[in-house]
């Protein structure tokens, strides 16, 4: 079972690495990059919201902190975005702990709304913080192609392989943690926190760990995003919409599953980009209607997410195979 999971991961990685060789159009390369980016972001959300059951709709805060940290370090102090990325991730993790400390006392909807409130506070502060560019945001000047500066203009491929690396590391981390003691504790906290606590699981500590890990990877993705689009402002990285976008792939793909975020992102991101590109140009809202209708359609037809759908199909396939084998014997 363990080998099966890992070999599936390796096979998918090989496929993901090979995909851009067949796709040269920058428009589609952009979709690929965004898809992998949201896979990673949503996997990070899944650590906290899926495995540990602490639904956060404030991930934009960590995303924004990562984006702003590396950008400010790079544009003001010339620090390499690669180092900025790590610092951004660490800073996001620290903020995650600081936010988690009061918020983890809350449960259910009170917790969800607290995460929105904290993230919106961050959004408002950045919107009014002149030193960090306030509402105008920060433009990252191009200093020439370089890995150290993580800037590339002739090709999008370095960005693609950069985000694939981040997503792969996060996938391995999730794979490992889901099978470790921590993963079991997280699921216990999700399933029944009172029972877990009475059995001696210190739920507060495990929630904090989940928050730190989730925020760390979200911050790193934020730094990546800033370098990729080379312009950030509070509306693009810190707004509530971003928090929702981060959680949607996992909700669609399957919460608390290893492949859910990737499955959801593969469906959602190309869909939203294509619909926007072909129908959204005129600002008529047609793209929003179709996108929203698709989400409603999926949620009403298959509320368990795509992973549930695939599991059902597999079960049915196995049953059919067993029946066939039975008839043969």
């Amino acid at each position: 079972m363990k080998l099966q999971g890992l070999s599936l991961g390796a096979a998918v990685l090989a496929l993901v690495l090979a995909v851009p060789l067949g796709i040269r159009d920058p428009f589609f390369q952009n979709i690929l990059i965004l898809t992998v980016l949201y896979t990673a972001l949503s996997q990070a959300w899944n650590l906290l919201g899926g495995y540990c059951g602490q639904v956060s709709l404030g991930q934009a805060l960590f995303f924004g902190i990562g984006a702003y940290a590396s950008t400010i370090l790079f544009t003001r102090y010339g620090v390499s975005p690669l180092a900025g990325m790590m610092l951004g991730g660490l800073l996001a993790a620290l903020v995650g702990l600081a936010v988690g400390w009061p918020c983890f006392r809350l449960r259910g909807h009170y917790f969800v709304i607290a995460t929105i409130v904290v993230a919106e506070t961050g959004y408002l502060l950045f919107l009014n913080w002149d030193w960090a560019g306030a509402a105008t945001g920060i433009l990252i000047p191009f200093k020439g192609e370089s890995i150290v500066d993580f800037q590339f203009q002739t090709s999008k491929l370095p960005f693609y392989y950069g985000i694939v690396t981040i997503a792969a590391v996060l996938w391995v981390f999730s794979y490992w943690i889901a099978r470790s003691k921590w993963g079991f504790y997280w699921r216990a906290v999700r399933g029944n926190p009172d029972a877990a606590e009475s059995l001696g699981v210190r739920i507060f500590r495990y929630k904090m760990a989940a928050a730190a890990a989730s925020a760390f990877f979200t911050g790193i993705c934020g730094s990546f995003y800033a370098q990729y689009v080379s312009y950030i402002d509070p509306d693009s990285v810190l707004a509530f919409n971003q928090s929702v976008l981060i959680s949607l792939p996992t909700v669609l793909g399957g919460i608390g599953t290893l492949w859910g975020p990737a499955l959801g992102a593969v469906v959602l991101i190309p869909m939203s980009e294509l619909v926007r590109a072909y129908l959204g140009g005129t600002g008529q809202g047609t793209d929003l209607i179709i996108y929203g209708a698709l989400i409603v359609g999926v949620a009403t037809l298959k509320p368990e997410g795509l992973c549930g759908l695939i599991a059902d199909l597999c079960k049915r396939g196995k049953r059919a195979a067993r029946q066939a084998a039975g008839e043969g014997a």
Binding site: F240, V251, G285, Y291, T300, P303, G305
Partner: protein, 292 residues
């Protein structure tokens, strides 16, 4: 800071707070009934505002005259959405909670797109209103009449909602369904019907608030988002499922917002609300009157 200006701030905060309270009441009702947070609640409000705008343009009737029409239409919208979408999402075998978040988010995006398609993203405002640009002077405190009327109607709407829930058989059935969703079927209450009516009444409540808000606030496809966040905070502050909590929560939020706008920059006025929310739930994690 003179006494008058402080009184002015408190009065306008109070008026806005009453509108917040009625917006939150619809959300609270649906939540209390079936444990569902409607993330398209802001878009319900937006729809009611556009309905008011459209009907006002077509019929040149005053928003106050349109009140029953819009409320009825919003009641229908609530029932239809429950019947077509929500009921299906609730059949999820696992994670019903996430399925409903997802489905109401999709709904919100769709409704916003629809508004953009029909009315374009431009900002609109109501033209024909017999109260517009009038205000009363109350001991040196100026109150705009549309806002005063809105607060009054919202308070009446709230009262009606309270009477409906506390004094009628329907209200008792609603309470019973909230207490135990499974047991009510045994005593002959049609749970599905109660849920549908709950969504209808929630829609009508936010519809009334939308009509009154439209009479003095500008209207655009994204207008619901900010009010929805305020409504979530209001409901949680008062305690999920508590109608009285929504009223008190709305008034507190309105006052805190107005006072924050006076003390610091107006662009930071929401921070005061956020701070109060965090403070309250940290001291009392069930909100002021929540039973959960």
């Amino acid at each position: 800071m003179s006494v008058e200006s402080v009184a002015q701030v408190i009065a306008s905060g109070l008026l806005m707070g009453l509108i917040y309270a009625l917006i939150a009441a619809g959300l609270s009702l649906i939540f209390g009934l079936m444990d569902i947070v409607n993330f398209a609640h802001g878009e319900f409000l937006m729809t009611a505002m556009y309905l008011t705008f459209g009907l006002n343009l077509l019929l040149t009737l005053d928003p106050l005259a349109l009140l029953p029409v819009v409320a009825a239409l919003m009641f229908l919208l609530g029932v239809v959405i429950y019947r077509t979408v929500i009921r299906r999402a609730m059949q999820a075998r696992t994670s019903v909670w996430m399925a409903q978040i997802f489905v109401t988010f999709g709904l919100a995006i769709m409704m916003r797109g629809l508004a953009q398609l029909i009315f374009t993203p431009e900002y609109r405002s109501i033209r024909h209103h017999w109260l517009s640009d009038r205000s009363v002077d109350l001991l040196g405190v100026y109150l705009s009449l549309p806002q005063l009327a809105a607060a009054g109607v919202c308070l009446l709407g709230f009262l009606g909602l309270y009477l409906l829930i506390a004094r009628t058989d329907f209200g008792r059935a609603l309470e019973a369904t909230r207490e135990d969703k499974e047991a009510v079927a045994l005593v002959g209450i049609n749970r599905d019907l109660i849920f549908a009516l709950g969504w209808g009444i929630g829609g009508a409540a936010v519809g009334i608030a939308g009509v009154m808000l439209a009479s003095f606030y500008y209207i655009y496809p994204g207008v619901g988002a900010n009010f929805a966040l305020v409504a979530f905070i209001t409901v949680a502050l008062g305690g999920f499922g508590s109608l009285g909590g929504a009223l008190l929560g709305g008034i507190i939020i309105g006052l805190v917002e107005a006072i924050t706008a006076m003390l610091v920059e107006p662009s930071l006025k929401s921070i005061g609300i956020y701070a109060v929310y965090m403070l309250v739930v940290l001291l009392r994690p069930r909100g002021l009157f929540g039973y959960l």
